[in-house]
Structures are given as structure tokens and as C-alpha cells.
Subunit: 338 residues, 2 copies
């Protein structure tokens, strides 16, 4: 199975590591014999149709922050991903470049190009899906390829699969989720230690839970992306992030957190799809399963007749998210008809 990694950040690196370390299990349990034929990052592309030396690629990236350590026979500086996707033959393209939520680029072009070339696509990048999921689903069907994106929601926690594979015969009336670990960490800390947002955010940044520019998280855009993807996949809506009414946690004060607590509630950044789609700070009863602590994510599906079903797990992390990419790869392998 020839795999192309577009974007070679934390998730792609963890995924490459897992492919390498679990190669005998993957062959035995699923008949998967992976070969990474190309890895591309923003600086250039490493290509080897007979399979890259993954260990060397990881070391090069670690030591020099680039793939140049693979040598000039393999590495070409400045070669753009779309060109590589068109030129190098493979079965699966993993799109894992950073999410960009205005135009979805360059991920959107990568995904489209891969689909037009007839490659199966595993997308970890929320941008293309938040902006153009219905069109991409159609393009995938038209090109008869599989389009998977488990890692975009919940990191390694199988939120999308749970709804799709385990709730057959149930109707899902609404989806309610704590979808951003950074915001949840901040709100949990504000409640537990009675500190202001600024202090909690600084701590989140120190611990690596929040980025230097935390806007996408704390302004609710990341939650909105995940809500859109989950709703479209699970409830069959055709939302884009522009359809979501978004309010982040930037205006949450210590007082509002304390006031919620005094009412037996926790103030959480909640994404909700039911009658409309919105992301906003909302009070959740302390005893409700959605009231998860720290960086946890949680999603509640309100179903008939199975009632409320909540899935809780880590919402981020390179290795965790890579496990979603692996699940997608196994799914693709099962339907392999090449």
C-alpha cells in the first residue's frame, strides 16, 4: 500500500512511526504492507517510489526541521505538494497540513487534486472540511475513492465512527459537544482555582495546550469546524463553518464561571446542532457526562430510543490523532479493490 504524507508535522510523524513500529501487526491483522512513497512539508518533498526510509525521515525532521537529511536523490527543496500528488503514484494521500479556515488552503487544493487523481484521501486538516465538505463528499463519490477524516474530530477518540457504526436503527435528535481541549482546560482551571482567563490561558500556553496565537481555539472556530464535520457526517446536514453562530470564550469572566458553579453548573464552550448550529459558552450541570475536566473532549448524541450517549476522550495529541489516521487506513484497506 503506497502512502503519501502531505504535511509532515506531529500527526504525520506519529503516524509514520506507528506504521514502522507496528508493521508486523498491520500485515498480520489487516494485510497492510505500508510504503511511504512521498513526504512533503512546506519546505520541500522527499520522494521514493520504492519507499522512503521512514526512520531517517523522522530523524532528519527532528534534527534539521526539514526532510533534507534524506539526501538529494530523494529530497527536492521547494517542490510543491500538488505537483507531488499529481506525479507520484500511490493509493492513499494523507492530508495533514495546518488547518486554515478562510479559504481552506493549501489543504483544499491538495485534497481535490488527490481525489481527481483517483487517490483515497485521509484528511486530518479541518479547513477543507469546515468550508467545503458537501462538495468534497461529492467529488469523492464521483471519483469512486474513499474519503476519511476521523482525526478531524476528537483526536484519537472515535466520535464520528461511534455515531456512524454503533447507532444504527437509532435516530439522532441532537449533538452537543465539548470539542476544544484548550478552552476546556482554561474554563476548568478558572473554575477550580478562581483565576482569570488571562492567567489560565498563559498556563495553557506554558503546558503546550494552547498555541502562541490561540485565536482559533478561544474564539470558537476550532469547535465550530468539528461541529460542522460531525453534523454533516452524522446528521446528513450540508453545513459550512459560515452557517454556525460562533461565540468563543474570550468574554468569559471569573465571575460568570463562579456564578455557574454556584448554581450547580459548569461553564463550558459547547457546540450544539439540533435546531440550528452554534458554538457558545453554556452552563452544563455538574452531574452531566458532558462536564469533563481539563483537556478532555466529550460529545453527547441524543438518540431515540437509546437515550443520551456520551463519548469522552483526549481530543488532541500526535499519537492519539495518528491512531485515527490508522483506523481510516484500515477501513480503506478493507474496501480495497485495486
Amino acid at each position: 500500500m503506497r502512502i503519501m504524507l502531505v504535511g509532515f508535522g506531529v500527526v504525520s510523524q506519529s503516524f509514520a512511526e506507528i506504521l514502522h513500529s507496528q508493521s508486523s501487526e498491520l500485515a498480520r491483522d489487516y494485510g497492510i504492507r505500508p510504503r511511504v512513497v512521498a513526504a512533503v512539508d512546506s519546505a520541500g518533498a522527499a520522494i521514493d517510489p520504492s519507499g522512503l526510509d521512514v526512520q531517517l525521515a523522522l530523524r532528519s525532521k527532528r534534527e534539521s526541521k526539514s526532510l533534507s537529511g534524506l539526501g538529494e536523490n530523494v529530497y527536492t527543496e521547494g517542490k510543491p505538494a500538488s505537483e507531488v500528488i499529481r506525479e507520484v503514484d500511490c493509493e492513499v494521500v494523507v492530508e495533514a497540513t495546518p488547518s486554515e479556515l478562510t479559504r481552506g488552503e493549501p489543504g483544499l487544493t491538495h485534497v481535490r487534486t488527490a481525489m481527481k487523481e483517483g487517490r483515497h484521501v485521509i484528511c486530518v486538516n479541518k479547513g477543507p472540511l469546515a468550508l467545503a465538505m458537501p462538495a468534497l463528499m461529492e467529488l469523492a463519490t464521483h471519483n469512486e475513492i474513499m474519503f476519511k477524516f476521523s482525526g478531524t474530530v476528537g483526536g484519537g477518540t472515535p466520535v464520528l465512527d461511534l455515531a456512524k457504526k454503533c447507532l444504527e436503527g437509532c435516530s439522532i435528535r441532537s449533538i452537543k459537544g465539548i470539542l476544544n481541549g484548550t478552552c476546556n482546560y482554561i474554563l476548568t482551571k478558572m473554575a477550580a482555582e478562581s483565576v482569570e482567563m488571562k492567567e489560565a490561558l498563559a498556563e495553557a500556553q506554558k503546558l503546550g495546550y494552547a498555541e502562541a496565537d490561540p485565536a482559533n481555539d478561544i474564539e470558537g472556530f476550532d469547535s465550530a469546524c468539528k461541529l460542522v464535520i460531525t453534523s454533516n457526517y452524522v446528521m446528513g446536514t450540508s453545513l459550512s463553518i459560515r452557517d454556525v453562530d460562533i461565540r468563543g470564550i474570550t468574554e468569559v469572566t471569573m465571575d460568570s464561571v463562579a456564578s455557574a458553579k454556584s448554581q450547580g453548573n459548569a461553564l463550558k464552550l459547547v457546540g450544539l446542532v439540533g435546531d440550528g448550529a452554534k458554538v457558545a459558552p453554556e452552563e452544563v450541570p455538574l452531574t452531566h457526562p458532558l462536564n469533563v475536566s481539563g483537556t478532555f473532549n466529550a460529545v453527547t448524541f441524543d438518540t431515540d430510543p437509546a437515550g443520551e450517549i456520551t463519548l469522552v476522550g483526549k481530543g488532541a495529541g500526535g499519537r492519539e490523532t495518528a491512531s485515527s489516521v490508522l483506523r481510516d487506513l484500515i477501513e480503506i484497506r478493507k474496501d480495497f479493490r485495486r
Copy 2:
């Protein structure tokens, strides 16, 4: 699809109702056209190869607590289930008689008989599985039939399916669960209202959360059954309930609950499979997703590399559990080769 209902209690009745009320969706979405050809309870059997009048059966059961209202052409008093299973042709037998944990009877005989007759089996009864799951799995394989039992763990919450269908490529290192809603209700109430076990149990009985004889619940046997089934199904063990070290909540005092709380923990009846299998009262951090309130059930799978994944939902209820039976039926339909 000809279906036989063995045991016609709350779950079977809810299932029959769902089959009736959702018949057009079932035909459209899954190609399922169900016909209940027999329903058997401890008093007798109603049989009609062309399909029972389900509405009439439900009304008869409601009004006279028996199926006799279906009339003497259909109903035979005292006719035992095993005889009906052998005599009446059908594709699927639903075993939903009460759980019995010493010999697993009469459920075990029903399940074995159905399998030997080449019927697919959906078992909602924990007894046969807690005592003889490995042998039953083998018998199912030998007879080339499907054996499903989603409703035995978590009511309508898809605990078994989550682990089996959504965690591929992950290894599961341990399973930890709050598996009995009655115990969890009692312990939650003891902690929240500082009352003794006796008072909390009486309240649970008043609300219908606990039976008149609560031994199976509060002595931990029900939790142990669910632990055995989950472990065998998910981790490939060959446990029976006799292999589980079981301690219920009967000796839990208001003091031990309060002491846990003062340490930032909640005292819960926890089932654990990892290094051995046990059920015992154990402290769970208040911030852990397993710390669910009231009658909720929760199961945490500790996986590599996706981390801890917790599923929370209602652990009981007729309609909820019937939704698991329906999921099993849909699964069977998908693999139908008759």
C-alpha cells in the same frame, strides 16, 4: 425475516413495539420486513407462522399479564420455549428471559437449542453468557449462525460495538466500568445527601431502579456478568463469572463514601479487567469521566495509542435495551445469506 421472542418482558415488548412502529423505516433503510412468528413467556406460547398480531399480543400482556388474549388458535398454555424453538421455523431467536446466574437456565438451553436448529441468536439474558460464553461462541461458529448480545452490557449504550468497531488498530490494555445503574444510583445518593445505604436503597426501590430482591445488583453479580461479557468479547479472554473476584456495595457505609469525597474522589462500584478481573467498591477521582452520576453506566477503555476512551449512557430501560436488540437484528440482516 421471521423472529421468535423467547421471554416477553419489558425488553421484548419494547422491541416488538419498535418493530411495529418503525416498520417502514426498517424496510426502507435495511430491507428488514419483520414477522414475529412466536412469542413465549413462562406461562405459554403464542405461535403464528404468518406473523402474530403484535399489537394484540402487547395489549393482552398488558391487560392479563399473559399472551392468552391472542386466542386459542394461536396460544397454547404451558408450552415450553425449547419445544417452540425446535418446532417453529424462523431466522432469529431473541432470548430475553430473566438472567439466572447459577446455572444460566432456562436461557442457556434456549440459546443452545436455537443454535443447534441453525437460528441466529440475539441474547439479552446475561446468565448464559456469564457462565458459558466461550462454549456458546464456539457453538455459534460450528453452526454457522450469528450470535449477538449487545443488550447485555450498557442497555442501549453500544459498549461492545464501540470497542469492536471503532478501536481497530488500537490495543486495549484494560477495561474499567461502572456497570450497574442501581449501585451507582445508591452510591451517588449516599454521597450527595449523606444518607445510609438502607435509605438510598429504599429510594431506589421506590423509583423502580432496584428490584424487590436487590441481591444481584448490590452484591456485584450483575456488574461481574457485564465485565465478563465485555472482556471476553473485546479482549478475547475466556472468563466466566466464577473467575471474577466479586465484592458488592453491601458493606459500604456513609463514612467511607464521605471519606472518599473528602479526598476529591467518588466511591463507585468498579468492574476492572486488566491484570485479573474484579468487581469492588473503588475510589474514582471526581474529575475522571468514570465518575458518572445517578443511574448512568460508563466504561473506560485504556487504549494504545488513542488513550483513555470512555462511553457513558443509560445502562438499562426497556426501550433503550430494545434499541440494542434492533442493532443486532440489523447486523444479522446485513450478513443474511438465507
